[in-house]
């Protein structure tokens, strides 16, 4: 493989990492509170707001039903508004985040629901308010699940960022399509796939290790 190709590969890897990290950060920052809201406002939640819950739930479902490739194109006006252009890494972050926010919100919601109701009751019985419930019970107790779910979200984002190549985002997927597919350079395709496998594996190992460290419940220990 030529040195320009290696440089191109390195460049693409960085672009993928930037897109994944930025969209991952945004989906975490927005998705986690959203997931918390979905649990809290549900029937029997500690901040029961049925109407709000139905609305948020519907919004999340709607966003999750749209195929990513369509979302990518559909939000171009919004992307232009936010980053001033509809192509490139920065432009891809907008649709990637929009797809990942509801995805992570559902995963976070599941993790919060896993928290034993007895713990919530116990802290309410101690006179704890909503804020105490959130930062002393829900978040610490759900943390291993929130972390594992975040790893899954990042892996999904790496996959989705390849599709974002369709709008000229750059990144590994873009490289694979332009060189590997359109120019029949099979070795580029193979290298890109190998890099992606390594990237996802490394991410999963780190995510699992963090989750195991965070988990004090004894479930994961032998």
């Amino acid at each position: 493989m030529s040195s320009t190709m290696i440089e191109l590969l390195w460049q693409s890897l960085l672009e993928t990492l930037v897109m994944t990290a930025a969209a991952g950060f945004i989906s975490f920052a927005v998705g986690l509170p959203l997931g918390l809201l979905l649990v809290a406002t549900d029937r029997g939640g500690f901040w029961e707001q049925i109407a709000l819950n139905r609305m948020l739930g519907g919004l999340v479902n709607a966003a999750r039903s749209i195929p990513f490739i369509i979302l990518l194109v559909a939000v171009i006006p919004l992307t232009r508004l936010l980053v001033g252009t509809s192509i490139g890494v920065a432009a891809a972050i907008v649709p990637l985040s929009l797809a990942a926010i509801p995805y992570y919100a559902r995963i976070a919601e599941l993790s919060f629901r896993e928290v034993d109701n007895g713990l919530i009751e116990a802290v309410r019985a101690l006179g704890g308010g909503r804020w105490t419930l959130v930062h002393e019970v829900l978040i610490p107790e759900a943390l291993p699940g929130l972390d594992a779910g975040f790893t899954v979200t990042l892996v999904t984002l790496i996959g989705a960022s390849a599709m974002a190549g369709a709008v000229g985002s750059g990144g590994l997927g873009d490289l694979a399509i332009r060189y590997g597919y359109q120019r029949f350079e099979t070795n580029v395709m193979i290298v890109v796939v190998l890099v992606l496998i390594a990237l996802v594996s490394a991410l999963q190992v780190v995510g699992d290790a963090v989750a195991a460290r965070l988990d004090r419940s004894g479930r994961r220990r032998g």
Partner: protein, 313 residues
Amino acid sequence: MLGLIGRSGAGKSTLIRCLNGLERPDQGSVEVDGREITKLNERELQPLRRRIGMIFQHFNLLSAKTVVDNVALPLKIEGATRAAQRLRVAELLDLVGLADKANAYPAQLSGGQKQRVGIARALAARPALLLSDEATSALDPETTDVILQLLRNINKRLGLTILIITHEMGVVRAIADRVAVLDNGRIVEEGPVWRVFAAPRHATTLSLLRAYQPALPAALAARVRPGVGRSTVVKLLVVGEQARAPLLAELALATGARATLLHGGVDYVQDTAIGALFVGLDASDASTFAGAIEFLRQRASEAEVLGHVVDDD
């Protein structure tokens, strides 16, 4: 120390949850410390709940926090300073005997140790009332005794009112002063524990107490037939002072009736002696027998003719 007992589904847990406002009754009122609490909103209930400690069947400790942080949580909620929290937590861990486990996580503790952490946490904010919701139901008998002793000590040393909910009569018997029996959401019987054990009045109490009720051994019971005979079975119940008297000797002296002891024993509930004796009396001489029964009815709380024993074929 009040014990509240009932079968599952009788409404025990619902009742206890109404006391700290975790559940709201559909009707009626709940007064705690002279305050009507059913009308209070969540925020107004919070200071009240801090005055009421609660322990649970499944301990409900936060798995992500160490023992110290679990016990400190009520103090943190109260807004106590870190130094004050540390001091109070050390004091509580000494009280429950877990000072060496301070930095362990709940998953590393045994059931009994978890409940001791639960008790320490419940006491942290110096509550005026401690609610115990089936606190020993998930523990083995030995650990149950240790936890009950701890609660008894706390009750005596801190002068704290403790309300114990349980479906086990043994728990009530071991530590409660008074007991209320709950059936279908209603209190059907209430009184000092020794009184309820000695003479249960309601059918639910009777069935809950079945295991503690003196009964003839099965082999003997199978040979009892209705009516009187050469060996008529009389069940006697003697409570308190009555249990100290040489009852059968006095019976022989006063009436000439000679009783055979078939089965029985004296038990102590809250230091009150409760004796249940099954004696055999010869009813061949009707007047001696009548005199004996008359005597026994005067000297025992209860004297009941159960039938007579027939010999094996």
